[in-house]
């Protein structure tokens, strides 16, 4: 198959990877409750993550599946589209948010259930990334 006309996938596009990395670094500095975070494509490829060391590639594919399942539930119940998913566990929480209308998302693992400030910062991170990708 010729790949000449196939666009570079976001997770291998240096500009997208750089913008995602910068947005995540800003998030890590601004929100101390965030233990780890990843920007991913809708189909579960990791674009960038903080902290950059260590494992965590499965977080991207799991977040992708979570978002898709949330969409399926919302469709089934005819309650409209979903733009984020929250999972509250005994020793932490996971929030997955869409990045505007782009085929990518942000997933954050937090030490505790997110408060309003945490959620606002996560939302600002997706907005920041959306703006950077538009430039």
């Amino acid at each position: 198959m010729s790949t000449a006309s196939v666009p570079v996938p976001p997770h291998r596009d240096p500009e997208v990877v750089s913008a995602a990395g910068a947005a995540l670094a800003h998030l890590a500095a601004a929100c101390r409750a965030v233990r780890a975070a990843t920007v991913l494509t809708d189909d579960g490829f990791e674009i960038a993550r903080v902290p950059s060391a260590g494992g965590g590639a499965r977080l991207a594919s799991m977040a992708s599946a979570l978002l898709a399942l949330a969409d399926a539930v919302a469709r089934e119940l005819r309650i409209g589209g979903s733009d984020h998913v929250q999972l509250a566990a005994e020793h932490g929480a996971v929030v997955v948010l869409r990045v505007a209308a782009r085929p990518c998302a942000l997933v954050a693992v937090l030490d505790d259930r997110p408060d309003a400030d945490d959620l606002a910062e996560l939302r600002r991170t997706t907005e920041r990334l959306d703006a950077a990708l538009r430039d």
């Binding site: 996938p9 809708d42 189909d43 490829f45 594919s61 799991m62 399942l69 089934e76 085929p103």
Partner: protein
């Protein structure tokens, strides 16, 4: 009335979602996302969690689960195979080395293959008339030497062909169950 939980496994682009849509009598629950890397498989969307459908094989009910083809979603394989009683492996004949995908899927689901039913469906078989069928049969025999694994050429879009494949799987499950229960 019996109830069967069946998994559809196979590489991306083999026709798993299409097969479940052909068979299901309810609106299929699907979790498709835009396929961001068209260099791997050139199709617009890909399943990232599961497909779910149902069909009544009077008097039995069959729950149909399609699992994502990419290994990065193998956590979904682990979740769904715990409940499964049978496995349909779909591979497309015009992909490079389809028998390698059969090997990988049957190996990944070896435990289910040992205790439940298994059939292999080869899609797009009419595109190339080669020895692919023989190679797939030989691969299935090598991975599962203690059992006969039926291999069918199928069109995932064709409800009757997929129904024949499914009925073969249900018969395989019933046969193996009868063998286990016989004194």
């Amino acid at each position: 009335m019996a109830e069967y939980v069946i998994l559809f496994a196979g590489p991306m682009g083999a026709g798993k979602t299409t097969a479940i849509r052909s068979l299901s009598e309810i609106e299929v629950v699907s979790t498709e996302a835009a396929n961001s890397d068209r260099t791997i498989v050139d199709k617009p969307t890909t399943t990232v969690a599961l497909d779910y459908g149902e069909i009544d094989l009077d008097p039995d009910k069959v729950r149909l689960y399609g699992i994502p083809g990419q290994a990065r979603f193998d956590f979904m394989w682990e979740i769904l195979r715990e409940r499964a009683m049978g496995l349909i492996v779909l591979v497309n004949a015009d992909a490079p080395e389809p028998e390698r995908h059969v090997y990988e899927q049957l190996t990944a689901f070896a435990e289910l293959a040992a205790t439940g039913g298994v059939v292999v469906g080869v899609t797009r078989y009419d595109i190339e008339r080669t020895d692919i069928g023989d190679r797939i049969v030989a691969t299935a025999r090598a991975v599962l030497p203690d059992r006969v694994t039926p291999v069918f050429a199928v069109d995932a879009r064709d409800r009757e062909q997929m129904r024949t494949l499914l009925l073969s799987l249900v018969a395989d499950i019933e046969t193996r169950r009868a063998l286990v229960e016989s004194p």
